[in-house]
């Protein structure tokens, strides 16, 4: 496996230019600039006019991700996002960064033209990025499930769990998440904590999740889950939990906190503090973006009903849990874990298939989502108390 060596020492598996709008008003210009290039030039952004501290942190972590070589910031000019600080932070990471302010460049068309010239230079410049050998111990891999059904918990989810066990044995960093979808699994999860502090952190994260969901009156349970045979939240949780495998849980992290040591981490995605209305309920893409903002090189996404999404910045490998869904949506699916049901294959066979595909994708093979051009992005406003965390992070 060969990675792209960044000046801050990180190793990336993709070499992208990101065109980043700093308010929705600059979205169109950023989109137009990036659309005239290949799939390695992508765009995302911060839609609101007033970023929270967490919003800034998330955008900064995405712009300095290992898969990103250069960044063009697109500002309208009057929004509250601190573009100067962001440009400075990105430059300090050793990445090329420029800012275009639409109000100062003469409007939409002038900014798009100038942006295209800048990105052309960036693409040329980052094509010279040094490549270096990459080991499993250099990889950060996240997992998420979406469109779960009654097959998820017996095929793709436990197969990803076994793949995680194998990756952890090679000293990778693995992250599972969505505490709201782990309600009901608390005692077992706590029994896997690496130490008493982690056990306490899991307990606190789960208490917060139960409080959040009951206050909001929302569960993480969709109509599609029920149509696919799942009846209760705890049933869905047990199936989702299987993605975490059998490893010891090394720590609990919040989105944007990059783990520094190898091991299995639970990402606590529920905002800190009292539940407040105004935070939207979760969606798969916001979870994937949060995983990428914690440094994930790629995300293993298991689906029963059949999600088709990908993501900006990091590849998304889709593991299809249901053989009927695979047949219907095979153009969107990378792994057919439904073969465990239809062909009687073992979990280990599918886990090996997943690990082999991870190696191929690190080595440059495109995922199905990349091939058909998926590059979703959603940013969810949240607040976290980062001082609360017991782990030490860079």
């Amino acid at each position: 496996m060969l990675g792209y060596l960044r000046k801050d020492g990180q190793l990336g598996i993709r070499n992208t230019v990101q065109v980043v709008f700093l308010v929705e008003c600059a979205h169109h210009v950023a989109k137009k600039i990036s659309e005239s290039f290949s799939d390695d030039v992508q765009y995302f952004g911060f839609p609101g006019c007033y970023p929270s501290d967490y919003g800034y942190r998330l955008v900064e972590r995405l712009c300095t991700h290992s898969n990103v070589g250069a960044v063009l910031l697109v500002s309208l000019g009057c929004e509250c996002f601190d573009r100067k600080r962001l440009e400075k932070d990105i430059n300090e990471s050793g990445r090329i960064c420029h800012t275009l302010v639409i109000q100062e460049e003469g409007g939409t068309s002038a900014t798009i033209s100038k942006g295209r010239l800048i990105v052309e230079d960036m693409v040329r410049e980052i094509s010279k990025t040094e490549r270096r050998n990459m080991a499993f111990s250099d990889l950060i891999i996240g997992t998420v499930c979406g469109g779960s059904d009654g097959t998820s918990g017996i095929t793709g989810n436990p197969a990803v769990g076994r793949a995680f066990d194998k990756l952890l044995a090679s000293n990778a960093i693995c992250i599972f998440e969505e505490s709201g979808e782990l309600i009901g699994c608390e005692p077992h999860m706590m029994s896997r904590a690496a130490n008493d502090q982690v056990k306490e952190d899991i307990d606190q994260a789960m208490l917060k999740a139960r409080n959040y969901y009951s206050t909001m009156g929302l569960g993480s349970f969709s109509n599609g889950n029920a149509e696919g045979g799942l009846t209760t939240l705890e049933e869905k949780s047990l199936g989702a939990y299987a993605k975490s495998g059998n490893g010891k849980i090394t720590g609990v992290i919040r989105p944007t906190q990059r783990p520094t040591g190898p091991g299995l981490y639970l990402m606590d995605v529920v905002p800190d503090g009292e539940p407040r209305f105004g935070y939207p309920n979760i969606c798969d893409t916001s979870e994937i973006i949060e995983l990428i903002a914690t440094g994930c090189h790629m995300v293993l996404f298991t689906t029963g009903r059949g999600s088709v999404i990908g993501s900006v910045i990091s590849p998304v490998i889709k593991v299809c849990n249901n053989p009927v869904t695979y047949k219907n949506l095979h153009g969107d699916m990378d792994i057919n874990a439904g073969k465990i049901i239809s062909d009687g294959l073992s979990l280990d066979v599918i886990a090996d298939e997943i690990v082999n595909l991870v190696v191929d994708v690190v080595s440059g093979e495109k995922t199905k989502a990349e091939k058909v051009g998926h590059a979703e992005f959603v940013l969810t406003y949240k607040d976290f108390d980062f001082d609360k965390t017991s782990c030490q992070f860079a």
Binding site: G184, G219, L233
Partner: protein, 92 residues
């Protein structure tokens, strides 16, 4: 007869359908055979023993909720007869 359902744990009182099962089908699972009393789609649950109102339904060896009415061996277990012990889901 191909295996139509999977019992995930020895303590479970429901099995998971591995293919679409029709009412009246004989269903084999882990050395047992029973008759399906309902149509049960792939991924859905079927009772493998009689379950009384208020009793826990077990899957993966863990409770996944409580029965809201008596459930017969071979019946489809879903929202019509099972409810969460945590949070009631949102349904269309």
């Amino acid at each position: 007869m191909s295996k139509k359902a999977l019992l995930l744990h020895g303590d479970d009182n429901c099995a998971v359908a591995l293919m679409d099962i029709c009412k009246g089908d004989l269903v084999a699972f882990e050395g047992n055979i029973l008759t399906a009393l309902d149509d049960i789609s792939i991924g859905h649950k079927m009772a493998v023993s009689n379950i009384s109102t208020g009793s826990k339904v077990y899957k993966y060896g863990a409770a996944i909720g409580s029965a809201t009415k008596p459930i017969l061996r071979g019946e489809h277990i879903h929202t019509q007869n099972l409810v969460s012990d945590y949070i009631i889901g949102f349904h269309r």
